[in-house]
């Protein structure tokens, strides 16, 4: 049972880290702008990462068996009032796998690969616009991470599409925009505290982004920087429990460019990737995303 728990923690880390790296940029609103009453933003996207290396506890990169995580998700914002926006991130199809390990000498399968398909952990939340009509926008978001994904998938029980942990993220976003020679530019920043349960360490999350809208508002280019720092206050920080430490105290500082194209005022597509500059106990390969969105 102990072994099972520990191996579960590993894949838990995979899902968590991938989510942390990508969700801030691709799914969860990372700006202080909220929806008007009755308005909305809806996005279907495919996000994936295939990783054969990870940042170790000393920040160096070591190999691991090639693993993949794929999320097909719905993301939506809906303006309940002009100041209050509801947020939902729902990965309705999530797939995780790892490769076969093959002897290069004999061709024998040493460890067979496995996969699991299910829905993934889901986030719901509320954003409140504190400053909406001024030049500088300010909002606060409460986001709840619902552990409805699988926490012990595959024959070995080490594959997960969720971490089994309920977390609450409280975040403040600030930002503003200006127009320079018919190009609309904007920038935003956020800072948040993520309270995690089940012995996971709490986290500080932070990020900054700049973007521009070009060519008659057809193209939107964005560059995001984001990071997570662990407070290392989880119960699994006990050195006697190494696997939990790995799952708990992951950190990273990442960058993620995104390019979007608006076919119409309401419909567009976007593509992005995210990669960590540095990290601890996270996978090192870049993650990619492609999606279509609808603005109402």
């Amino acid at each position: 049972m102990e072994t099972s728990n520990k191996t579960n923690e590993i894949m838990k880390n995979i899902i968590i880290i991938f989510s942390l790296l990508v969700l801030p940029g691709l799914a969860i609103a990372q700006s202080p702008w909220t929806q008007k009453k009755g308005g909305g933003f809806y996005k279907l996207s495919q996000w994936w990462v295939i990783s054969d290396g990870h940042f170790t506890d000393t920040g160096q990169i070591d190999p691991n068996v090639t693993s993949g995580v794929f999320n097909t998700s719905f993301y939506g914002q809906y303006g309940i009032t002009d100041r209050v926006t509801a947020v939902l991130y729902f990965p309705f199809f999530s797939r995780a796998y790892f490769n076969n390990t093959i002897s290069g000498t004999t061709g024998e399968v040493i460890t067979p690969g496995e996969s699991v398909n299910s829905i993934g952990d889901t986030d719901i939340g509320i954003t409140y616009a504190i400053l909406k009509n001024k030049g500088i926008k300010l909002s606060s978001t409460l986001l709840l991470g619902l552990p409805i994904g699988k926490s012990a998938g595959g024959e070995s029980g080490i594959l997960q599409t969720g971490d089994g942990e309920f977390n609450q993220l409280l975040r403040v976003d600030v930002g503003g925009g200006l127009s320079v020679k018919k190009v609309n530019l904007y920038s935003a920043a956020y800072f948040g505290f993520n309270n995690r349960t089940n012995g996971f360490s709490d986290e500080l999350r932070y990020g900054f982004e700049v973007g521009g809208i070009f060519f008659k508002e057809k193209f939107v280019a964005t560059l995001r920087l984001s990071g997570i720092s662990s407070l290392e206050n989880g119960s699994a920080a006990d050195p006697a429990n190494g696997t939990s430490l790995f799952a708990n105290n992951s950190e990273h500082f990442s960058w993620s460019p995104e390019l979007a194209y608006n076919f119409t005022d309401k419909f567009g597509v976007s593509a992005s990737f995210g990669k960590a500059f540095s990290g601890k106990l996270i996978f090192a390969n870049p993650a990619y995303s492609f999606g279509v969105y609808l603005k109402m």
Binding site: T3, W48, R95, Y97, N99, N100, S103, T105, E108, T111
Partner: protein, 224 residues
């Protein structure tokens, strides 16, 4: 709906389980299992040897025995040596493979008595990291009432950050395949020990630290 189907199809196509190749080849070896120091003139002694293949697994192969100086001691096909005349000779055990010969040898004194070396009851070594994770320390492997005791000195230290870290005895330090699993690592610093049953002291030549979930080697140590 078309877009969702496209996404799901693309995901399933790109998310197929592939193969990771582990480079796990080691040199084939022959080991004379029961060396002696000297053989009395007129006495006989039955030598035995084993062969480990290119992944470090014991394999049945015909052992070819020979003596470098048959006038001092002869050796039969089954490994039975006979002392003939005072002096020295090399006893050689070899396996002929399609592309090469693998052999082990020992110096045998032909004298007035047959003597065997003191029984080895203890082996030792040091583990070193082969990854970016901390792993170090000296260890001793010794016999104890039919079991083996693997003892680590106080200078032992291992990273507690790596999940699913296991320790093995093996003849192939490149993989945990065919290795004897001692257990999951739960002590990350200081002196500690493992009790191992069903294994002989000279059966394995390496201690291996391996991360099972990531299928990667973390470190190893020769058992001297």
């Amino acid at each position: 709906m078309k877009f969702i189907c496209l996404l799901l199809t693309g995901m399933l196509l790109t998310g197929c389980i592939g193969d990771d190749i582990i480079f796990d080849t080691v040199e084939e070896t022959v080991r004379i299992s029961n060396p002696i120091d000297s053989l009395q003139v007129g006495d006989t002694f039955q030598f035995t040897a084993s062969y480990l293949n290119n992944i470090g697994v014991e394999e049945n192969q015909t052992i070819l025995w020979s003596s470098s100086d048959p006038s001092k001691a002869s050796i039969a096909e089954d490994g039975t040596a006979t002392g003939i005349e005072l002096g020295q000779t090399q006893i050689i055990a070899r396996v002929e493979l399609p592309t090469k010969t693998v052999a082990d040898s020992m110096l045998l004194n032909i004298s007035n008595t047959t003597t065997t070396p003191p029984a080895v009851t203890e082996r030792s070594g040091s583990i070193v990291t082969t990854s970016s994770y901390l792993l170090q320390g000296d260890f001793t492997l010794r016999e104890d009432n039919g079991d083996l005791i693997l003892e680590f000195d106080s200078n032992y230290a291992a990273s507690s950050a790596l999940p699913g870290l296991y320790v093995y005895l093996t003849n192939n330090p490149n993989t945990n395949n065919n290795a004897f699993e001692i257990g999951e690592v739960t002590t990350f610093s200081g002196a500690h020990s493992y009790i191992i049953s069903g294994i002989e002291l000279n059966q394995y030549d390496y201690l291996l630290y391996y991360c099972k979930p990531f299928s990667v080697k973390v470190g190893d140590g020769d058992i001297e």
